[in-house]
């Protein structure tokens, strides 16, 4: 199944990237593409029969989808000069809230809306604390992480909440395929495209660079820096809500354990993708490439039957090497 449409998924998510030729021209994207290419070659050499199959590609994209959506939000927050540690926990909370017996009784659409609203709401709270409460983003979102996990555990009574058969529409996002590709990959692609458009084609995106790059200049140019900062965290929360729908679809459950340590993965993908942790610079395409590199590493390790320990060591080394290379390519302002 799905054989004839082999390269579709890749083509889809790559679409926004390709239209941004200028973005691709930059050294760091070339570096990332190079890293991806090396990983692909490694895959082809070590597992010729399994790696380059349509279903493995679909699989990689499905794996990347959940955290990918979160990474889009994280890219905005980090370009805007902030950080969001709460993403995984907020996603878990949204998944739990959307799968309580009460919510489930309203059907799948309400469940999805509920997840998205919970995510956005949590993001808004972090945003308020940071923008108007003037809390350091690290601490505000750490607090949100801790509290959201606790709340998720409480709501679910620490049980995994199964999606009821009558709401299987949600699960079908993962199982129904169009042209051989599961719906959730389309959702992921859509979020990436919309995120790209928002960042590159709207005033909101432009302001995000301004707010992160030089908040004082942004303020003096008449931008409401605080409001914008708040909205960035709400956007991140919105992405967590969408990710919650995807993780529900994939695992057929809502659970307080979902999204453990996503924050580190998402931030790492964004940074590897060339976004500065100090803000003002970065691209969605880079983040997604960064994420795909990580997903590909995991996929390759499992295809080759290697263990998690080696995977961790390799990840650490790859992060260091990638960042050091990027430093050399890019003459960056001193920290």
């Amino acid at each position: 199944m799905g054989e004839p449409t082999t390269d579709r998924p890749a083509a889809r998510t790559a679409a926004p990237a390709l239209s941004s030729l200028r973005g691709f021209g930059e050294m760091r994207h070339l570096g990332l593409l190079g890293a991806l290419a090396i990983l692909v070659v490694v895959g082809l050499v070590t597992r010729p029969a399994n790696f380059a199959t349509a279903s493995n590609l679909v699989s990689i994209l499905s794996l990347a989808a959940t955290i990918g959506v979160i990474t889009v939000g994280a890219t905005f927050v980090i370009i805007g000069g902030g950080i969001d540690l709460s993403v995984g926990a907020v996603m878990a909370l949204a998944s739990v809230w959307a799968t309580t017996v009460a919510t489930q009784s309203f059907g799948p659409v309400v469940m999805a809306i509920c997840a998205i609203l919970v995510g956005t709401g949590a993001g808004l709270v972090s945003g308020l604390l940071i923008a108007y409460g003037r809390m350091v983003p690290f601490i505000a979102t750490l607090a949100m992480l801790v509290a959201a996990r606790g709340l998720a555990q409480r709501m679910s009574d620490r049980k995994t909440q199964l999606i009821q058969p009558e709401n299987s529409f949600i699960v079908e996002l993962s199982t129904t395929r169009v042209l051989g590709i599961p719906m959730l990959v389309y959702i992921f692609a859509l979020v990436v495209v919309l995120g790209w458009i928002l960042l590159n084609r709207t005033t909101f995106g432009r302001r995000t660079y301004a707010v992160g790059g030089n908040p004082e200049a942004a303020r003096l140019a008449g931008i409401d820096v605080r409001r914008h900062t708040m909205l960035l965290y709400a956007l991140s929360g919105l992405c967590c809500g969408i990710a919650a729908v995807l993780i529900m679809a994939r695992t057929t459950t809502g659970s307080s354990t979902h999204g453990d340590l996503y924050e580190l993965d998402a931030i790492a993908a964004v940074i590897i993708g060339g976004t500065l942790l100090t803000g003002g610079r970065g691209t969605i395409v880079g983040s997604i490439l960064g994420l795909l590199i990580f997903t590909l590493i995991t996929n390759l390790f499992i295809l080759n039957g290697l263990n998690t320990s080696d995977q961790l060591i390799a990840k650490g080394l790859i992060i260091v090497v990638a960042v050091l290379l990027q430093r050399r390519n890019l003459k960056e302002r001193a920290p």
Partner: protein
């Protein structure tokens, strides 16, 4: 004692020093004069080991030296008071003074000794009231300046470099400073002294070196005897005349801006004036006299008591509103306050008026680009590619982009803070023409410039500020440069 020869220092896009010579004798106060951006600070940073020169030699006591780092310079016996305060807020006064050369045994700070020594230096500076144990973050800017000076004195230095040490000091504090300088020079220590205040140069200086555009234009002039006129003309390079457009063709219309009793305690007090449509009003004054703060307060970016009215309606605090109502500010610190260095020229130009280029938040990038291109051509921004990151442009061209930002979106009032800082002479003329044109179109302009001829040449009316108060207000035509300088420096109202 110290001879610097042919010093060249290149920054990306700027040749800050272009062959500077300086010789300083033991026991003298050698004054360094020059306009903003002339390269004075860069020169002393080269001496202090904070910058590495690209060319040139430094000979100290007959030996060629190369201070490769601040530590090297300190070891050579050079102590420096930097222009930007370089203190650590979280440390105490004593710790700041002895930072890097603490009295210590095996790494343990001898706190009593440090405190006693600090207290001694502070007393010598005439400020025994500054307690050595107080955290520096809590001090006033003036007190911080004293701590900076104390730090320089704490080194057993043979050459002390002072970059505008008096900028934040009141009159009697300056007297104290001079007393110290005399003590030092009596012991054979040499002092390099930078100040924009001519009367100080006369009082304390022995010889004067004048810098202009990164070059030495005069060496070793006698500080007391050289006529003011000569110094000023050396500094401002009178040979390259300011080319101001004729003030004809603009007519002042309705009152756009009215400022009543604007006061920010400790910064400026009781400032009242108005700007009419099509009128250019200039604010003249020394560095630190509060001009930037007045602009910021008018712009809603800083709180102050009193009233600001735009078109007769009060302006509320908050820049979002003032921009929407038609104000625009080209701030003084280009890099820190105006530019998105990583973004394109276009993005920088349209930043203040983004909504004009968008429908429902969706940017019309084509129109954005064509507008940016139009303005870039109009202001002759070079290179003429608006998609280039603005980081790669020279300072003057960056400044033009900042101005271009507010040529969009039907501004009623423009606040220009040092609009020509870092802009070369040729480009200046173009900027002057643009500012003139803006006024001609009926925009009110409030202009701050440290260059008096600029204020006089552009403005219709001039306010002269000294230490936060307006000491003169009148037609530009009734003033000349020397009278303004006299007011600014000696506080004599006309």
């Amino acid at each position: 004692m110290l001879v610097m020869k042919g010093i060249v220092k290149q920054f990306p896009g700027v040749r800050a020093l272009d062959g500077v010579d300086l010789d300083v004798r033991a026991g003298e106060v050698h004054c360094l004069l020059g306009q903003n951006g002339a390269g004075k600070s860069t020169l002393i940073k080269v001496l202090a080991g904070a910058h590495q020169p690209d060319e040139g030699t430094i000979v100290f006591n007959g030996k060629e030296v190369r201070p490769g780092s601040p530590i090297d310079a300190i070891r050579l016996g050079f102590a420096t008071i930097y222009q930007e305060l370089d203190l650590v807020d979280g440390l105490s006064v004593a710790e700041n003074i002895y930072l890097g050369h603490e009295h210590s045994t095996f790494g343990f700070v001898n706190r009593a000794a440090v405190r006693a020594a600090a207290s001694e230096v502070l007393t010598r500076l005439g400020h025994p009231e500054i307690r050595p144990s107080v955290e520096v973050g809590r001090l006033s800017p003036a007190a911080k300046q004293v701590v900076s000076m104390a730090r320089a004195l704490s080194h057993d230095a043979r050459l002390i470099i002072m970059d505008e040490p008096s900028a934040a000091l009141a009159h009697d504090e300056v007297a104290n400073l001079f007393r110290i300088i005399r003590e030092l020079t009596a012991e054979g220590v040499a002092v390099v002294y930078i100040s924009h205040r001519l009367e100080e140069i006369r009082e304390i200086g022995d010889r004067v070196t004048v810098l202009k555009d990164g070059r030495t234009v005069a060496v070793g002039l006698p500080a007391r005897e050289t006529p003011t006129g000569q110094i000023v003309s050396l500094m401002t390079g009178r040979n390259v005349e300011y080319v101001f457009p004729p003030k004809t063709g603009r007519s002042a219309g309705e009152e756009v801006l009215k400022v009543e009793n604007l006061t920010a305690p400790g910064v400026f007090a009781d400032v009242s004036f108005s700007v009419r449509a099509g009128e250019i009003v200039g604010l003249a004054g020394l560095v630190g006299s509060g001009r930037s703060e007045i602009l910021e307060a008018v712009y809603g970016a800083r709180s102050a008591s009193g009233r600001v009215l735009l078109d007769g309606t009060p302006v509320r605090r908050g820049v979002v509103g003032t921009v929407r109502r038609g104000m625009g500010l080209a701030p003084e610190e280009r890099k820190a306050q105006a530019l998105l260095l990583d973004q394109s020229v276009t993005a920088n130009i349209t930043l203040g008026t983004l909504p004009e280029f968008a429908k429902f938040g969706w940017l019309d990038r084509k129109r954005e680009r064509s507008e940016a291109k139009r303005l870039a051509e109009m202001l002759d921004i070079r290179p003429p590619d608006p998609e280039r990151p603005i980081r790669t442009l020279s300072g003057g061209n960056q400044q033009k982009a900042v101005l271009a930002r507010w040529l969009l979106g039907g501004r009623k009032l423009l606040l220009l803070d040092e609009p020509t800082r870092g802009v070369d002479v040729g480009a200046r003329a173009e900027l002057y023409a643009v500012i003139h044109d803006l006024a001609k179109q009926g925009i009110g302009v409030l202009l701050v410039s440290s260059e008096v001829p600029e204020v006089l040449g552009l403005a219709d009316r001039v306010l002269v500020l000294r230490e936060g108060t307006v000491i003169h207000q009148g037609e530009a035509a009734e003033l000349d440069e020397h009278r303004v300088l006299d007011m600014i420096m000696n506080g004599r109202a006309a």
